[in-house]
Amino acid sequence: MSETVDIHAPDVEVKKSCCYFCHQNCGVLAYVKDGKVIKIEGDPTHPTNQGGLCCRGNIALLHLDHPARINHPLKRTGAKGENKWEKIPWDVAIAEIAEKLNQIKAESGAEAVATAGGTLRTDDWSRRRFMNMFGSPNGFHNALLCWIPTFMMETAVGGWSPFETDLATSRCVILWGFNPGSSAMPGMRGYSDLRKAGLKIIVVDPRYSETAAHADLWLPLRPGSDTALALAMIWVIIYEGHHDKEFVENWCTGFEELEDHIFEYNPEWAAEQTWLDPELIRQAARMYAQNTPGNIQWGCTADQLGKTAGAGMHARAILRALTGNLDRPGGDLMPGPSMYYVTDEELEGNDWLPEEQKAKQIGSDKFKLTSWPGYQRIADVSREVWGKAPTAEWMCEAHGPSVFKAILTGDPYQIRAMIISATNPVNSYGDAKMVLEALKQLEFLVVCEYWMTPAALYADYVMPIAGALERPIVHNNYGVTDSLITSQRAIQPLYERHTDYNFWRDLALATGQDPDQWPWETLEEAFYYVIYSFNSSGYQFSSYDEFVEKYRMFYPPLHYYKYGNNGFATPSRKVELKSSILEELGYPSLPTWIGPAENEVDDPEVAAEYPLVLTTGGGFMPYHHSEQFNIESVRFLKSDPYFTINPKKAAELGIKEGDWCWIETRRGRIRQRANVEPSVDTRVIYCQRGWWYPERQEDTGAEPFGCLESNVNVLTSVDDEHCDPIGGSWANRGLLCKVYKVSYWDETDTSYSIPGSASEPGVSVPPSEQKLAYEPIPYDPKPTFEVPEGLTWDKDTKLAWDIERGLAYDPNSGWLYHPETLIYYDLVTKYAYDPETETLIDEATGQRYSMETREPIGEGEAVKTTAAEAVAAEELAAKEAAAAEAAAEAVIITPTDIERGEQS
């Protein structure tokens, strides 16, 4: 106990660090004595946790010096997977890796090098910066399962994802597939407080979760049917007239189309899909729509529905808009990118990546919203309205599963090298058997890790990474919000551990990237650059650490109704219920129902053999994804994997509490123990995710560390037809499965594969031949104006062109203009307009003509123009100037802005 260590002793320093075991980044006070952290506790002044720390937060010291941590760079000496290593110095490892990457780049192009990430813990912008300069578009995270498709969808529809919920004055919140009771502890405290004060909480979850236990209304729907529920809620809101008519009329487009489109999705229809009582759906819709302002809290369910995901995310975005909850007090706030500090996107250097490389991004031909085609479109609009673009790392990435498939098939091209950091892809990406096979076959693999994971085992180099307490952290939610919270490192990294930033920087310099583009030697220097601009007003600090110690956080002034100034950041500057961006990308522009990956209605034959509905996506305390399974104190609480089954179904199947059972889908089977509990429907099986057995340190055979034994991703599918064509996410929920007890002779079966089609890991159909869940809809926009004779309509630019001269037609003025010089030309004569002299010039001859008469005039002759034309020309010039100014202003932080922030 703390009798042995006195945290109040004079030589003990207190560092404002933060937890690094999930993305909440709760504040931690670290007591440091002689360069050693002797105790940690939750920081009572931190806005997120107010002193609280969960199971994970409390184990930082156990994590810091765990005997199984990787502390030095390791180079493989045996065969791949043989677990034979040699310790080598950091610089040597970096040099060797760089040499190999450069060689691959020279032989196969930069795109043959990919990187995989996990959660938000890899100093992501530096990774992107490296990849952009290196020239590869093939970086990816588990972004597609984690809110990113939702972000992109909501940004496409409404101009920014309503990431922040103004709960203090809210009256109703929907927690949709979101269980803060086990994944966002600080948030859960807030909900408990607010509920006491009268906030209505609606929880959508097939399982009676910790959060559902605190709900006013719980909708235990069929896993994977969330989209149907959302559509039916829209139906109720529209046809019962609960929508915010004023907001819809003034600020939404496509309402009439939506009204017609949604007609078939009534609650009775949804009842079949969701197993919910239609009255319950109506009740939920009314509760949400009548208790405004209200919120739909962000959560990752919609991203994990597989092929039905896109429509679901779209429907939720529509729900927010229909109720007028966007960017209003108590509603779903749209902070936009920060104007006050350097955003992640600005650090990423996306301009370095050449267009032809962007086009090579794997998966971008299929899943367009979350890769370059969709991102580019959204970023362009975003820059026009907000002045900055969303972060590209996360929002614009290669399709992870397609990259793994490319390793195995060489389709569309061979991926030869991969750098994996902060992820254990065998556990966290879909189709674990395929991923494991890909890692085994990969030519060159570098893994940045804390532990020996199944991925690290097949690596050529394993790099030791600094963890909690060893690194400074800026918490700004993927760069999609305008506030930030900072934390400092308690100690320098132990042993030869380095931060991810230092890894990428060192690698960048070793591969020959320009050192001037990597001017910051440490993360603190880089972060100082990020927040430097605060210095000019009110804040006074000369280093990052000083900022942390004095201020710690930055919250800009809160502005509601920001759309009142420039409109929403969409092409039409309104919330596009019928999304033009989706339409352009070849997707249904209104949310259209398509059943979950596997379901009783569409696949009755599958359902006959696999009668139960599986959900695998739920996080559970005390683990974060596949982490902390090797911390004894944490593992002690949940030492075995448990799946939940309803007692009635269990009795039917002869399964008793604690029995080891197989859970089998068409793709494989895993075993977990039975948690017999009436928290799920009799037709539902809820599996715990993330399970592997790091303690089996000698078990480094074909399936190292038991990584397939209880791993739910053995059950999931990443076939293109099961993925969401819009965002590319695959299904963790709503899959069909069966469950049976592990029998005596199963004990000897270590393959965890079922005989038949799923027994061989890998890819049976080459990616290029795989079909999507639905065919892209050819985008063929018709002109909205009459195209003058002689001009050609172009559907991509949505403009009429004089192809011969490269001039575009401006339907408002009736003139032609050059898209780059912005010089206007007469439609008939093609003479250029000169605003200085207010005359027309034939550029070919230099001859001037009168505006009025189109008659040739001599030099210096006064020109008569009508008053109306003069005003029009002036307005045009002013508009251009304003646009240019806005673009320039966007990146400049004026002192007055910050002062405003101080005052409020």
């Binding site: 765990h66 005997p67 199984a68 941590r69 990787i70 030095h72 390791l74 290593w85 310790k87 532990w451 020996m452 399974f629 090797n630 004894e632 593992r635 002690f636 609480l637 949940k638 030492s639 075995d640 604690g658 057995y693 790091p694 303690e695 089996r696 340190q697």
Partner: protein, 341 residues
């Protein structure tokens, strides 16, 4: 981790075999002192029972050693006397007193040819007989009271338990005395007292044999009664607990009646430990002389073990589910980690 962890705190046995042995030996020793003291006072049969007294003192001594051995910190066992109120402290004092008086009493039965100076002070011997009987009984009762004061353990926390322990202790004591009766040093001692007259010696021998027979008869009858009493008390104890309101006690009683302790209880205790000895006593002969007392002693030990291992704590709602899911202690992740290279 060197030891296997006991993670289920509801079922964890904080007191294990040394305590069971201690309770048995304490009961046995105390019981012998009590019985021998009483019999000596009433029948002046000390010379037949002297070895039993020595055995009793040894039992108490070994029991105390086991008690100390069982401590988490055996080296500092003297701390036991710090408190004024604790029942354990009283127990320790009673043990010492009983042992002490028993030992002094025994000193008068050492070989006569040693001619120890205290032999003539018979009043001390008689006083010691009274005191050792008194403290012996206290020790017997104490072993039961110790357990029955544990509010945490519903199966123990009943006034029937001291009764049962007392009956059982006296029963085992009687059995032990019966086994040891008339053995060294009584004959030689008596004969030496009588002198060298052959006739008188022969007569004395007969009397002694007769007395021993009578004493054996008394002991056997007493034990028969005690065995019957024990059967009654034990059944009362288990069956009333089974019917009691406390769920934990009920569950443990059920374990005895039809659960995993049922075989030990019905066959081990009730049949072999109590019924068969009773029948053997009834039949007489070698069975009564040797087999029955041994069985009774074994039953006494078995009873202590069964009781000590029925120490299930009363649980709060949800505790059972909680501890059932915890690791058992021998899981691989608890066996230490090695560096990854």
């Amino acid at each position: 981790m060197s030891h296997k962890m006991d993670t289920n705190k509801l079922e964890k046995h904080y007191w294990i075999w040394p305590i069971a042995w201690y309770l048995f030996l304490g009961g046995l020793g105390g019981g012998i002192l009590f019985a021998a003291g009483i019999l000596d006072m009433v029948f002046h049969a000390g010379y037949i029972l002297a070895l039993g007294v020595l055995f009793a003192v040894a039992c108490l001594g070994i029991g105390s050693m086991l008690l100390i051995f069982e401590l988490g910190q055996p080296k500092v066992f003297l701390r036991v006397f710090l408190s004024a109120t604790a029942i354990i402290k009283w127990g320790a004092c009673l043990l010492i007193l009983a042992m002490g008086f028993g030992f002094i009493y025994f000193l008068f039965w050492l070989p006569p040819e040693w001619n120890l100076f205290w032999y003539p002070w018979l009043w001390i011997r008689d006083l010691c007989a009274v005191l050792m009987a008194l403290f012996g009984l206290c020790v017997v009762v104490y072993t039961g009271v110790l357990l029955s004061t544990m509010k945490a353990k519903p199966f123990w926390n009943t006034p029937v338990l001291p009764v049962l322990f007392t009956v059982s202790a006296l029963s085992t004591a009687t059995a032990a005395l019966a086994l040891l009766a008339g053995m060294w040093p009584s004959y030689e001692y008596i004969l030496a007292m009588i002198g060298s007259d052959a006739m008188a010696q022969a007569m004395a021998g007969e009397v002694l044999h007769a007395n021993k027979e009578v004493m054996m008869e008394i002991l056997h009858i007493a034990d028969k009664i005690l065995v019957i009493a024990e059967i009654v008390v034990l059944l009362l104890y288990v069956l009333t607990t089974r019917a009691s309101g406390n769920l934990t006690a009920k569950a443990v009683a059920l374990e005895w009646i039809s659960g995993k302790k049922a075989l030990l209880f019905w066959v081990g205790m009730m049949l072999c430990g109590l019924t068969i000895p009773f029948l053997l006593y009834q039949l007489g002969g070698v069975g009564a002389e040797y087999v029955a007392p041994v069985l009774v002693l074994a039953a006494g030990l078995l009873l202590r073990f069964m009781i000590v291992y029925s120490d299930r704590r009363r649980s709060m709602p949800g505790e059972e589910q909680y501890y059932r899911r915890l690791p058992k202690g021998d899981e691989r992740f608890l066996q230490g980690w090695k560096a990854p290279y």
